[in-house]
Amino acid sequence: MDSPLLPHGVKRCSTWAFFFWTLPWLALLAWGGLSAFLCLWKGLNQTNMSNIFAFALWIVFDLAIIALGAGAFFTGFLTYVMGQKELKNIIKPAVIIGFICYSGAMAMLGIDIGQPIRGWFIFWHANIHSMLVEVSFCITCYLMVLAIEFIPIILENRKLEEIKELRIFGHNLHEIMAVFAATGTFLSFFHQGSLGGMFGVMYARPFAAREGFYIWPWTFFLFVLSAIAVGPCFTILCTKLTEFFTRKKLVPDSAIQLLAKISAWLLSLYMVLKIFDYLGWMYGIVPRSGLTFESFFREGPYGVYLIVAEMVFCGILPAIILMTPKARQNQGLLIIACLLNCTGIVLNRFLFIIVTLAIPVMPFDRFWGYLPTWQEWGIGMAVVGYGFLVFSAAYRYLPIFPKERELNPITE
């Protein structure tokens, strides 16, 4: 039915099969739509957020997907600025994943604030001392950069390419992509960093507070590093997932292995610095506030096991797997390592957001726990559904894997 829109020389499932494939994701979007409507109409009382858990599931989702989406800017940086030609085979899916993550995060933030209509106050009445302002400015600008990077990919659609003006426009845009890749890298560096800075600067919350360099707490640099360590792994995971569902090889192993190797080095460096960060914090800020490391986990559902999981099972372990050439060449181990890496970074964000707020600072206050409502899950899941829909549509209608034809010749 939609065959004129499909790329040349590649095999795609039937329109009906594609339609049925989209149904579960559309259902997630409908769930999210209902949740968003309730939250906007009735207010944030629809959530289980409270005066204790001022930040909750949505912020964890936001920070997690923004870190996972870092594959876009970092792969762009490696491809266009560092000249890693091999990565041209994976840059397009990386950009699309980045676009999905960032646009999804922006939409969630729009619902998360109590007065969405006043969202523009961030720009109009900007408090330049606030890390969140830096995040908002950079994310907004970077989303525009991502949109610009996405446009030439969309214009490669078979039908759109037939229009001469669009073809020339897309081609010229493609020529100057290095400029946007560099801009994206600059913007991403600052918002990934300031997302970490947001928590490091909360000096009155000893669990999150960190010392640092000049105005930037250590979390600023650690968040940048962790994002570029996990971004390529998430790109690999999404590619592998696409290969699994389409039962095709889409990206040459060399590109995947290069990304995995870069991720391995960055993750290893991150783990070393993170260990120093934890030690510096445990023997610096924590005792200075009159607390001990154990006192943070005296009560409540969150325990030391979260940090052990973050550092050992989801940090050092994937770093070792990815560092070992034999191990990362094994498909199963590669996927496990990427999954663990992603889980570790999400856990790190969870610790900084939920656990920070669950721990009381006043000695006579109590520990708290939090469980999201279905409305909160709905909006989080809608981003997942949105991601699957956009990526599936992009795969179906756009030639996002340049080597697909070569790797899967049609033999008819």
Partner: protein, 275 residues
């Protein structure tokens, strides 16, 4: 009067005598009534109710007959040094007024991101989870006219009854006085406390009672070592209460050393510590 204020010579603060506090909660009620704090039919969800002034019950954890219970009334601390909530606000909706020391909140500018709530270690900031004050039920007739009710989706906090300062200044201006006297500007909680446990005034004015009280060796502040420099002080002659005012590593807390002063001041009060 404006000229006097330009030099930032006022620094309003309060001293709460925990030994006098009975935990009756009048301060909470007076605060809520004065400041049009939203009240819902069911106030049992304590994680989401709004209590600018909140009582925390504390105990020394001992068995009878040594068991003791007390209360920490906790308004906003109006931190004097780099308030954790102010620098994080995205829309510059909250600020520390250097002329009065009051940390204010602009409700119509707050976008409700709640970053300030996350940053405040005292839990002194509250978000409006619901629409309240329905116009058709006559509740608006109970509102204090000088205080704007808050809309859903914004953060609010104790303002040291800023409207009362405005009122006192207006009165002084009308009477052609340059400055307001001690006692002319008092917060609702301080005024209402039946035990007179709360003293309010200008910490910079040596004539004011608060500036004398904060020099007392039994006076302390909440979470002092974090460095927020609160302008709300507490006073207790019981060591276990003073110890609960901050986090201490084992062996770190030293009881008040100025024993002779303490003995002189408190010798008439029976049944207290071993002073």
């Amino acid at each position: 009067m404006k000229k006097a204020n330009d030099h930032g010579k006022f620094k309003y603060g309060m001293v709460i005598d925990i030994d006098k506090c009975t935990g009756c909660g009048t301060c909470m009620v007076a605060c809520a009534a004065e400041n049009n704090v939203a009240v819902r039919a069911d106030q049992s969800d304590k994680e989401r109710t709004i209590t600018w002034m909140r009582l925390y019950k504390i105990s020394n954890g001992k068995e009878f007959p040594k068991a003791e219970v007390s209360y920490f009334p906790r308004p906003c601390m109006h931190c004097d040094h780099h308030p954790p909530c102010v620098s994080v606000c995205v829309a510059t909706a909250t600020k520390l007024d250097f002329n009065t020391g009051i940390v204010s909140q602009i409700y119509t500018r707050c976008i409700g991101c709640r970053y300030c709530q996350a940053a405040c270690p005292y839990g002194a900031r509250y978000f409006n989870w619901w629409d309240v004050f329905p116009q058709d039920k006559g509740m608006d007739r109970y509102l204090t006219p000088e205080v704007s009710p808050r809309m859903r989706g914004v953060v609010e906090k104790c303002t040291f009854c800023h409207q009362r300062l405005m009122r006192a200044k207006t009165l002084a201006y009308a009477e052609d006085r340059r400055e307001i006297e001690e006692g002319e500007y008092v917060t609702a909680c301080a005024e209402a406390c039946p035990a007179q446990a709360i003293t309010f005034g200008d910490l910079n004015n040596p004539e004011h009672e608060v500036s004398k009280l904060i020099k007392h060796p039994f006076t302390f502040r909440l979470l002092e070592r974090i460095g927020t420099e609160p302008k709300v002080y507490y006073h207790s002659n019981r060591d276990w209460i003073r110890k609960l005012g901050d986090n201490f590593l084992p062996g770190e807390y030293t009881p008040v050393v100025n024993k002779s002063w303490a003995e002189e001041e408190w010798s008439t009060k029976p049944g207290r510590d071993e002073f």
